[in-house]
């Protein structure tokens, strides 16, 4: 007599989109787009101590055609804005945008009444998925931004949020 095998112990079924989302979330390829001070913290996050490679996002691509995450790290200028928009347009779908630092979120410390050169937030140019505040944000904040983006893509958060012990 054949023993019945519980297939759910051997084979898992899932929606293709979920599997693709998992693959995309755990292997985000950022575009090297460091503009100003936040770029240094982004570089530090890719280095040995904070190690963005643990999250699959260490392969910074110089070309927008090969990247799927654009980390705007720094202030976007009115002179630079067409170039940023062009880079965004050159990226292939699906693509995500992370606004790293206060300048990318809202113009940062360079906004004052009557200012003439700074774009007040990169979401004036195209939609942003994750906002990481700070001036500059710590590398842990950037990693948290990646984790939040993963949560947005897959619906589940990979690492638990640290809670204070009572």
């Amino acid at each position: 007599m054949e023993t019945q095998v519980d297939t759910s112990k051997i084979v898992k079924f899932a929606k293709l989109e979920d599997v693709l989302a998992l693959g995309r979330a755990y292997s985000l390829w950022p575009l090297t787009f460091g503009l100003a001070c936040c770029a240094i913290e982004m570089m530090a996050t890719g280095m040995a101590r904070w190690d963005l490679a643990r999250f699959g996002a260490e392969v910074f691509r110089p070309s927008p055609r090969q990247a799927d995450l654009m980390i705007i790290a720094g202030t976007v200028n009115k002179k630079m804005a067409p170039a940023v928009k062009l880079l965004y347009d050159q990226m292939l779908e699906p693509k995500w945008v992370m606004a790293l630092g206060n300048c990318a979120i809202s113009g940062g410390p360079f906004v004052y009444p009557g200012q003439y050169a700074v774009v007040e937030g990169v979401d004036q140019l195209f939609p942003v998925d994750v906002y990481v505040p700070g001036c500059p944000p710590r590398p842990e904040a950037l990693i948290e931004g990646i984790l939040k983006l993963e949560e947005k893509m897959t619906g589940k958060r990979r690492f638990p949020v640290a809670k204070l012990q009572k």
Binding site: K79, G114, Q115, Y116, A117
Partner: protein, 163 residues
């Protein structure tokens, strides 16, 4: 070669001419002459020379012959007096001497000859000053915007600039 302040004072003195006569009112302090020695610890430079706009090129030549390098070109907008001032800062690589050469032009016609032929580094400094103030450096090879967008027509550091 290491120039001395005395040599520079003498050369600049010949360039700008004698100091203006004392003012008529006896209690007024004497007007500062065009070539002044300043206290480095108090101001940050040793010699302060005021020249006419057309003399900036010869002042730059004097300093070039003495081995100075161009530090900065600063524009200042004196709106209340209807003038714009250009201050040229020069540093010396081997002595602690620093010289500031300043000139004033009317706001309605802000033109200063370029010193790019003597100090090629002035090319970018003058372009930036033109960007910010609208000062025209006559004879400049390439007075396009440097820091502002290529099609910018505004001069943001003017005191009457409204965005």
């Amino acid at each position: 070669m290491n120039p001395t302040l005395e040599q520079l004072c003498e050369q600049f003195g010949r360039l700008v001419g004698p100091a203006p006569a004392a003012s008529a009112a006896p209690a007024a302090p004497p007007a500062p002459g065009p070539v002044q020695r300043t206290d480095h610890a108090a101001k940050g430079y040793d010699l302060d020379v005021s020249v006419a706009p057309l003399q900036v090129v010869m002042a730059a030549e004097i300093l070039d012959r003495s081995g100075f390098g161009l530090d900065a070109v600063t524009g200042v907008d004196w709106l209340a007096q209807g003038q714009m001032e250009v201050v040229y800062d020069y540093f010396h690589p081997t002595t602690p001497l620093r010289v500031a050469v300043r000139t004033r032009v009317p706001r309605a016609q802000p033109e200063v000859p370029t010193i790019t032929a003597i100090f090629p580094g002035a090319n970018w400094h003058e372009r930036e000053t033109h960007d910010f103030f609208g000062l025209v450096f006559t004879g400049h090879p390439n007075l396009k915007p440097l820091l502002l967008p290529e099609d910018a027509t505004f001069h943001p550091l003017r005191k009457d600039y409204q965005s």
